[in-house]
Structures are given as C-alpha cells and as structure tokens.
C-alpha cells in the first residue's frame, strides 16, 4: 500500500517536472508586416513579426500557418531572429520545420519555428520570415495570342493566417507594372502605383482569413524547368565534369493562334510581350569546355563570359518560348578538381558543390543531382541543409570493373534560393587510382604475351 502510494507520487513528480510547452493561445503577435513581391513568377513574401508571450510559461517555439493551397506550393521557409536596434541589428537563423497539428482547421499546414532561447512570459521577440511560393500566379485569360499581354491572378488573404491573435498587421503587395486590372478591396485597402496596401487591420482573431484576388499584368519570363538532371562526375585525375539535362517550358498563359515571325521581329515590344528567348546560367568561375546542345546537335546561340567570381552563360533556345512551348537541351562543362574536392579532418574526402539549378529566376519542378564517385569509393553520405530524397546507384563508365557509386539526390519545387553548398563525403584510398593504368598496362602486356606465344609455339607437323 505504501509502495503503491510511493510509486504514484514518483509518477506525479515526474509529470510535473517535465516543462510544459505553451499551447497555441499563449503567444500573441503584437505587430505583423507582410511584404509580398509579385514581380516575377516566383512569389516572395517577407513577414516581420513581433511576437509576445502572454502565457505563464516559457515558449520554445511558434507555429506559422499556411492555407492548404499555399502549403502545396511552398518552396522554402526561412526565419531569422532580429536582435539589437537600428544599425546594430544582428540576424540569427532559426530552425524551421514542417509540422502537423492534430486540430488544424480546414487543412491548414504548419511550420514550426524554434526560438534561439525560450521566450519567457511577458517577453517579446522580433522575427523575420521569408517564404517563397511557386506556381502561385494563375494566368487569366488562360490562353493569349501573340499580341496580348499576360495577366495573372494572385490568391491570398488580406489578413495574415496565424494560429495566434494578431493585434496589428499591414500587408504590402508589389506588382511588376502599374497595370492592375482589379483587386479585392477589404477596407482599408488602397493602391499607389506598383504597390497595393492592405491594412492596417486591428485585433484579428486567430485563424481569421479574408481571401483576396489580385488580377494584374506580369510579363516577366515564366521559365519553368520541368525536369533537370545534373550529373557531377568526379575524377581524381583532376577534373569535375558536369552534365545538365534540361526540359524547359514557359509556365504562363498558353499561346493560342498562329506565331507570326514577322510580327515578332518587327514589333518586338508589343508582340510576344510575355515570351522569352534568352536565358542566363551562372556557372563556376574557372569553367572550361562548356557545350550547349540538344538532340539535333550543337546550338550556337550562346555567349560565355568567364570571370573571377562566377562565369555567365547567356544562351538562347532555337526558338522563342511562348506559353506552353517546350525546349529540351543539354549544357555541360568542366571545372578543376581542387576547387571542389577537399579532405576532411578525419581523412574522408568530400565534394563541396552548389545545389540547385544554375539558371536565374527559374523554378525546377523536379531536380535530380547525381554525384558519380570514382571507382573504389566507399561509405558515401550526403549532408544538405534541407531535406532531399537520397538514393544510391551504380554507373559503368571508362575503365571500370566494379562500377562507380552514384549518390542520387532528388528534390521537388526548387527555386534559386536553394543554391546553397552541400557536401558529399566518401572514403577513398589513393592506391585505387592505380587500378586504371594497371588495366591498360595489363592489356598491352597481354598483346606482347600473345605475340611471344605465337613466335614460340611450333605448329609444324613434319619432324625436324
């Protein structure tokens, strides 16, 4: 009896000693300012939040809510904690992870932001959140002719969707041009030139949502790479060979009617306003042997400018791209090995390369990066700042016996902000490099031995 009471007391004590996390209602957003940039087809939103802890216990994290359509199109969410004032502001990156909440109303999606240090009761913290949405500009009209301009819809909420009570908030929307066909007006809302201001709104309850539609002109190039396969082949004899297979489309309003080359070339500012024909790829600085070709052959419309910090390849597909049109091509180049392959302190080698797509302002729907490690490499592992699907394959290439290990990294919905360095570690004994010349030496030796055998063997039938 006494033992049972004792156990019960211990269990209660254990439960009471676990720090209680604040529930969603213990935080409050004092001030929120949201700036949405609609200049290109990649929608960038900057949220500046001032969060206050109105509960009794410390809060270690907070939730960011997104509507179901936004969660599907969200390419990246980053959060920074702002400390200091005015000129001496410092920004600390915070850990942001997607999360599920059991009682989410209307399929809201959540991201959990962990604070640098738990927020005490009554304290406030300033955060800056950046999130990037892809495929969020819906072309309307869906089909346009060559001489029309491209108009798109942007669906969002004038009131920031949040699981917390928001005391004061304002949203600024920046459009690429002054032509805005219409925008939903939720008082107070007004438009000045290229900026639409929604707000300030006071004291909105949690999960309040006021849908707005902005119909505006956006002629920026809607360059969408449907599939990109980048193969990085490491050769310990001195170079890194990169081959990129692109399937590029124009992701805007579909083109209808005929394509008049005469109109396109004579009235370029009016004809094909939303089409694009030039693309820019940013390549590493010491790049050589760059080629640009497709199934037909080499494409000569390209210019390469090498530089000290980066090289730029400006290239044009064989035809300008209008809505719904596709172009498939291959870009390949070589970079020196010592720029990218390093030795770690524990003896392992690692490749330090940039993730993502070299094209500027393009969305990649499906990106596959294959790192081909030299023969004889063991224990491959990849370290990335965000989640990707990892896989291992085998590739047979020049002078291979057992094949080369390939680390395959796959990610969907990639934007230029994903161009960050990643590392692939592996172990390699330098003696394995001799396997290739040894194979060639033994091949030549076999030829000599065969000629020796021919000379020595006596095939005469007659007795001497």
């Amino acid at each position: 009896m006494a033992a049972r009471i004792g156990i019960f007391a211990v269990v209660v004590a254990v439960f009471l000693s676990i720090p209680a996390f604040s529930s969603a209602q213990d935080l409050q957003i004092v001030n929120a300012e949201r700036r949405i940039d609609l200049s290109s087809h990649i929608v960038k939103a900057f949220l500046t939040l001032k969060v206050e802890n109105i509960g009794k216990s410390a809060a270690a994290e907070m939730l960011l809510a997104f509507s179901p359509t936004q969660i599907k199109n969200l390419a990246m969410v980053q959060a920074l904690a702002i400390t200091g004032k005015k000129k001496k502001k410092t920004y600390l990156p915070l850990d942001v992870k997607p999360t599920e909440q059991p009682d989410a109303p209307n399929d809201t999606g959540y991201y959990r932001v962990t604070f640098v240090s738990p927020l005490g009761p009554g304290e406030t913290v300033s955060l800056e959140v950046l999130y990037i949405l892809t495929h969020s500009l819906e072309p309307f009209p869906v089909e346009i002719t060559q001489s029309e301009s491209q108009l798109v819809y942007y669906h969002d909420s004038a009131v920031i969707l949040s699981p917390y009570h928001v005391k004061q908030q304002t949203t600024f929307v920046k459009t690429p041009s002054t032509r805005v066909e219409s925008f939903t007006s939720i008082e107070p809302a007004n438009r000045a030139g290229k900026e639409i201001k929604y707000g300030p709104y006071e004291n909105r309850a949690s999960y309040s949502y006021a849908p707005v539609i902005i119909h505006f002109e956006n002629n920026s190039p809607f360059a969408v790479v449907e599939e990109l396969v980048r193969e990085i082949e490491i050769s310990h004899w001195g170079s890194l060979q990169i081959t990129e297979n692109y399937r590029l489309t124009h992701g805007g309003a579909r083109h209808k009617g005929v394509f008049s080359r005469v109109d396109y070339q004579s009235k370029r500012s009016v004809s094909g306003a939303s089409s694009f024909n030039a693309l820019l790829a940013v390549l590493p600085p010491r790049v050589n042997s760059v080629y640009y070709r497709d199934d037909i052959g080499n494409i000569s419309t390209s210019h390469l400018r090498t530089g000290f910090r980066k090289s730029e390849l400006e290239f044009e597909p064989r035809y300008p791209l209008f809505g719904g049109w596709r172009a498939t091509f291959i870009i390949g180049y070589r970079v020196p090995l010592e720029d990218y392959l390093f030795e770690a302190s524990d003896g392992r080698r690692y490749l330090n390369f940039t993730f993502g797509c070299p094209l500027v302002e393009t969305i990649v729907n499906k990106l596959t990066i294959k790192v081909v490690l030299p023969e004889g490499s063991k224990d491959p592992s990849a370290i990335l700042p965000f989640t990707v699907n990892q896989d291992l394959q085998v590739k047979y290439s020049y002078l291979d016996i057992v094949g080369r290990t390939v680390v395959v990294l796959q990610k969907d919905n990639v934007v230029p902000t994903h161009n960050v360095p990643f590392q692939v570690y592996y172990t390699f004994k330098p003696i394995y490099m001799l396997a290739e010349p040894f194979m060639l030496v033994s091949a030549f030796f076999f030829v000599f031995v065969a000629s020796l055998a021919y000379v020595h063997i006596d095939l005469n039938i007659a007795r001497k």
Partner: protein, 76 residues
C-alpha cells in the same frame, strides 16, 4: 576552416607532355622487342629478355595511353 583541397597527384598541365614522352619511350622499347624477335633464331632466344622487354614496354605504353586519354579530355 582550412579544408585541404585535393588535386591530382600529377599536375594537369603536364599531361600532354608526359603522354608524348612515355608513349615515345614505350614505342621505342616495343620496337626493340620486335627487332629482337625477328633477328634472333630459335636457339639464341632468351625468354627472360623477351619478358623483361615486353613488361617494360607495356608499362610505358599503358601509362602513355592513360595520359593520352587524360590530355584529350576523357578524364577516366
């Protein structure tokens, strides 16, 4: 951070020169081997000399063809 960059054991700029020289030496020794084969009679032939010459020739030819592949851009 001081990460040590890894480069090729032989400087990449040396590949064309190395390939020319090693292939030249390899072909000269191959010539020596075949001259020996054709000028010696069955009784005077020494298997040891033949094997030694062919081994040295195949080493030079093997490395020469490797450097030739590397110099022409096929980084094996």
């Amino acid at each position: 951070m001081a990460a040590k960059p890894i480069a090729s054991p032989i400087s990449v700029a040396l590949y064309p020169t190395l390939s020319v020289f090693t292939l030249a030496i390899g072909l000269v020794i191959t010539a020596i081997f075949f001259i020996y084969e054709t000028t010696s009679s069955r009784k005077n032939r020494s298997l040891g000399k033949e094997l030694a010459t062919s081994a040295v020739a195949s080493v030079f030819l093997g490395f020469g063809s490797l450097f030739l592949l590397l110099a022409s851009g096929v980084y094996v």
